[in-house]
């Protein structure tokens, strides 16, 4: 059993199968929409002939870019993503038309009848090609395939390499992977008689969904109401594409004046949705004979694919965290996003960190090996400590820097020191080689200098003593609604049963940004604390007289509201009724603004994030000499998340994040041939199953964070971002072979 109390407001609905996801919802008269793709990877002069499709009995309409009342191209940063293609195809995932029919079967049959012709162009399929001076420019905007270039200039590494005892110069590559949420994209949109389009969608950012839809329809945001329903996972992957699925269904609903449902197959989902960026990373690291890292120069290239999405933000995080959790005084980094005709890449849990950590945490072990030092020693010498200055010039003096504490926890729990001595390093009497490895990371919580960071909460007390609460944080399956309810119950001293999390709508709660970047708990729960403070002040003011005390003396605990003595108390039922009799609405609205951050894009310096989560994960593996198969034996993870609010769910996030990281390390890769994705379903795109996983132990470290009003930080991304290098280090310690590309593979011939 997981330790601590488990609470999920949606637990029973989900485990009984009653929770409704987008495709489970139906309205009378619903039409069905299907996307139409073409087999081109890059082409121009697109001509679409829908006549045969529209002649099919039951086919209502084939919608193309010509039918769009607003704008077809949109995006979170650059308005370059074609929700429907007008003239030019830039990727095999592009959608050219939408068939709408009385049934899904007819819509599918109609899609097969849409005839598309175009003049093919030779696609640009590698970053090397894209960076050649003769390369065709892929993006619709700008005149270069370099779509972003972040620089860091911290000290001056160049003159220092000569003084260094050891220079490590290495290249690493990471692969494209898929978020792999179990529920493919789906949306049902309903035209309301007051002119509003209602959206029920499988997406993780209702406000982004509203923006994409508003753009496509050419209508104000107030015309579009996006409701929160059960979502079958997102992991960063249900922003742009999922929003666009909603927008397309809304286009159908607006034009045809009937409800329209669009549910993706897994194949369409993998074909069209954005992925994790593949990276090429080059590091030159200068180290003293004592193991101190003096100088780092790094260049990274991220394949952005055909469209920009959030590539500038993903690569920004890679820049700000380019040296892992190490305080290096002299760093130059250049991080590029490169456009190609590959599938576009965007947000996925980890967001520019897993790629960097894969390189840096292996380099640390390589330094230790070369200098004949202990890997823990090299980490300890260089890691950020209380008061350290990060590579962005940020002084870490306003929260507990627990890097060493967290590492010690993992080391102790797994028995790293003793086991490290027993590693096979390629030599073993049996067929199995044994290895243990670990990795550490720090992760800037929330958006940092990447965006405007604030979040709102509404508390709405009811006449009968029940309480409605909502925030701008979105429930994607991670359990955020439950956390918000628990925080409110704690703040008001009430029973959880009194509180209901209100199903959010974009027409009610203000835009609070996306539920990404490990920001749900820190931002959402802090907004609840602020709203609860106002709520309690309002209640105190109006109940003090009845409680025979001053407003300052009113307290909230034991599911009651109290004056100074035991005989002076009100139940919530009595208190709410009293406020209504006084004609006062028991209502509060709070907005939490994240603490200030700063950034200078010219030199990559500034206070990148207002706080950091510290993590250490370790893995034990065995590698079979005859087959090269890597088997996981044990995993231990320790994370300083500030404060655990819902501990069982927190551990669930840790194990789930590790498991996604295991997939990244050992099995997952989106494959393609000439730009056409070949791993379109789970038969070819393998994700971890029960039988792929070892025992996992999660250790929760709680150093209350002063920047969060609950003390809690977050866990979503830290859980995923460092197990791949831990496993890579373990595989090296088992085999003596250093794998510098993902997914890790060992060729048994190399073990002979």
């Amino acid at each position: 059993m997981a330790e601590g109390k488990t609470f999920r407001n949606d637990g029973y609905a989900k485990v009984t199968g009653r929770a409704t996801y987008a495709d489970d919802i139906s309205f009378a008269g619903t039409l069905h929409m299907v996307p139409v793709y073409a087999d081109y990877v890059a082409a121009k002069n697109v001509v679409i002939d829908s006549s045969k499709a529209e002649a099919l009995p039951g086919c209502i309409r084939v919608l193309t870019a010509k039918d769009v009342p607003g704008i077809t191209n949109f995006g979170q940063i650059e308005q370059d993503y074609p929700m429907l293609i007008t003239d030019t195809i830039r990727s095999w995932g592009d959608v050219l038309a939408l068939t709408v029919a009385e049934t899904r079967e007819i819509a599918l049959a109609a899609a097969a009848l849409v005839e598309i012709t175009a003049d093919p162009i030779k696609p640009v399929l590698t970053m090397e090609e894209a960076l050649s001076p003769y390369a065709r420019t892929v993006p619709s905007y700008g005149d270069s395939n370099i779509v972003v270039h972040h620089k860091m200039r911290h000290g001056n590494p160049d003159p220092l390499f000569d003084e260094c005892e050891l220079i490590i110069e290495e290249d690493f590559t990471t692969q494209m992977i898929e978020q792999g949420y179990m529920e493919p994209e789906s949306a049902i949109c309903v035209p309301r008689s007051d002119g509003v389009i209602e959206i029920y969608g499988s997406m993780q950012h209702p406000f982004s969904t509203r923006r994409f839809t508003g753009a496509l329809l050419g209508e104000p945001l107030s015309n579009i109401e996006v409701y929160t329903i059960a979502v079958g996972g997102g992991f960063g992957g249900k922003d742009d594409t999922a929003a666009i699925v909603c927008a397309r269904a809304a286009l159908g609903a607006r034009i045809l004046r009937r409800p329209v449902k669009m549910t993706y197959t897994r194949e369409w989902s993998i074909r069209e949705s954005y992925k994790r960026h593949p990276y090429k990373l080059h590091y030159k690291v200068g180290v003293t004979s004592e193991g101190l890292i003096k100088a780092v120069k790094t260049e990274m290239y991220a394949d952005s694919g055909a469209y920009l999405s959030v590539t500038p933000w993903v690569t920004w995080r890679s820049t700000a965290q380019c040296c892992g959790p190490y305080a290096v005084d002299n760093v130059h980094a250049d991080v590029y996003g490169v456009a190609t005709n590959n599938l576009f890449t965007g947000a996925m849990r980890g967001f520019g960190s897993p790629q960097v950590n894969f390189a840096t945490e292996q380099i640390i072990d390589m330094i230790a090996e070369k200098l004949k030092m202990h890997p823990l020693g090299v980490r300890r010498i260089n890691m950020v400590k209380q008061g350290s200055t990060t590579v962005t010039g940020q002084v870490l003096d306003d929260h507990t820097v627990s890097m060493e504490e967290v590492m010690n926890n993992t080391v102790h729990e797994i028995g790293y020191r003793k086991k490290f001595e027993k590693c096979s390093l390629g030599k073993s009497d049996s067929d199995e080689l044994y290895g243990i490895g670990l990795a550490i990371s720090y992760r800037g919580a929330s958006l940092g200098a990447e965006g405007m960071d604030f979040c709102s909460a509404i508390i709405n007390g009811q006449y009968d003593g029940s309480i409605l609460v909502e925030t701008g944080i979105h429930e994607n399956g991670q359990g955020s609604d439950s956390v918000m309810m628990m925080v409110l119950a704690e703040e008001l001293g009430t029973n959880l049963k009194r509180i209901r999390y209100k199903r959010s709508s974009t027409s009610n709660i203000p835009d609070s940004g996306s539920t990404v970047a490990t920001r749900g708990t820190i931002m959402g729960s802090s907004s609840i604390v602020l709203a609860a403070k106002q709520f309690k002040e309002l209640l105190s003011k109006h109940l003090a007289e009845r409680l025979k005390c001053t407003p300052e003396e009113v307290t909230f605990h034991g599911d009651k509201i109290w004056g100074l003595t035991y005989d002076q108390s009100l139940t919530w039922e009595e208190a709410m009724k009293e406020l209504f009799l006084q004609r006062v609405t028991p209502y509060a609205f709070g907005t939490f603004q994240a603490p200030d951050v700063s950034w200078d894009e010219t030199n990559g310096q500034g206070n990148a994030y207002f706080t950091y989560v510290y993590s250490c994960q370790a893995a034990e593996v065995s590698v079979n000499k005859k087959t090269g198969k890597i088997k996981l034996l044990n995993i231990v993870a320790s994370h300083d998340i500030g404060k655990a609010i819902n501990k069982a769910m927190l551990l669930g996030q840790i194990y789930g994040g590790i498991t996604q990281g295991v997939g990244y390390a050992l099995m997952e890769e989106v494959t393609s041939e000439e730009g056409r994705t070949t791993s379109l379903n789970f038969d070819k795109y393998k994700i971890p199953r029960t039988t792929d996983l070892p025992e996992m132990t999660g250790i929760v470290v709680e150093n209350y964070d002063p920047h969060s009003l609950t003390g809690a930080k977050g866990i979503g991304e830290p859980a995923l971002e460092l197990i791949a290098p831990a496993i890579a280090n373990a595989v090296h310690n088992a085999t003596g072979i250093r794998c510098k590309s993902l997914p890790l593979t060992i060729n048994p011939e190399d073990l002979a």
């Binding site: 609905a13 409704t20 079958g232 769910m649 194990y655």
Partner: protein, 157 residues
């Protein structure tokens, strides 16, 4: 179109359908049983798991024509049974649920396992659930949920 008669959640029913139509579509669209989910449509993920004559099957891979005369059980039928309540409570208490999309399939796989092996080892649970994908939980708490249902389910399984 032919008439196909079978037993669904202990009630005799018949549907008019082409024999090749997927059982999944009949359950979700014609009969409104939406606890059965579609995650992949090719038998890899297990979100559409149901029991056919007591055996765990992926309903996306079962043509309705092959169901004639069979007994089909879904979560809608089992959630009010002793078996269903036992596993449902155990999953809820173990924190086995995150996004919940795989959960109905996991419950069905767990029931299929516990019916033939009331006291499975962790490795047996892993094999029993290996046809069901979950992307959120890392399976840890789902496995603990099955263990808990096994412990609590004396006389049920």
């Amino acid at each position: 179109m032919t008439e196909i008669a079978f037993v669904l959640n202990n009630k005799k029913i018949s549907v008019e359908a082409e024999g090749a139509t997927r059982l999944l579509d009949i359950l979700r669209e014609d009969l409104g049983l939406t606890a059965v989910k579609e995650g992949c449509g090719e038998g890899e993920c297990g979100a559409c798991s149901v029991l056919k004559d007591g055996l765990l099957v992926n309903s996306c891979m079962v043509p309705i024509g092959t169901v004639a005369g069979c007994s089909i059980e879904t979560l809608e039928g089992l959630r009010n049974s002793d078996e269903g309540r036992c596993i449902i409570d155990a999953f809820a208490d173990s924190g086995a649920v995150q996004c919940g999309f795989c959960t109905p399939g996991m419950v069905m796989a767990s029931i299929a396992l516990l019916r033939v092996n009331a006291h499975p080892t962790i490795d047996e649970i892993k094999v029993g659930l290996s046809g069901n994908l979950c992307r959120c939980t890392g399976y840890d708490m789902i496995i603990k949920g099955v263990q808990l249902a096994s412990e609590r389910g004396e006389g049920i399984w």
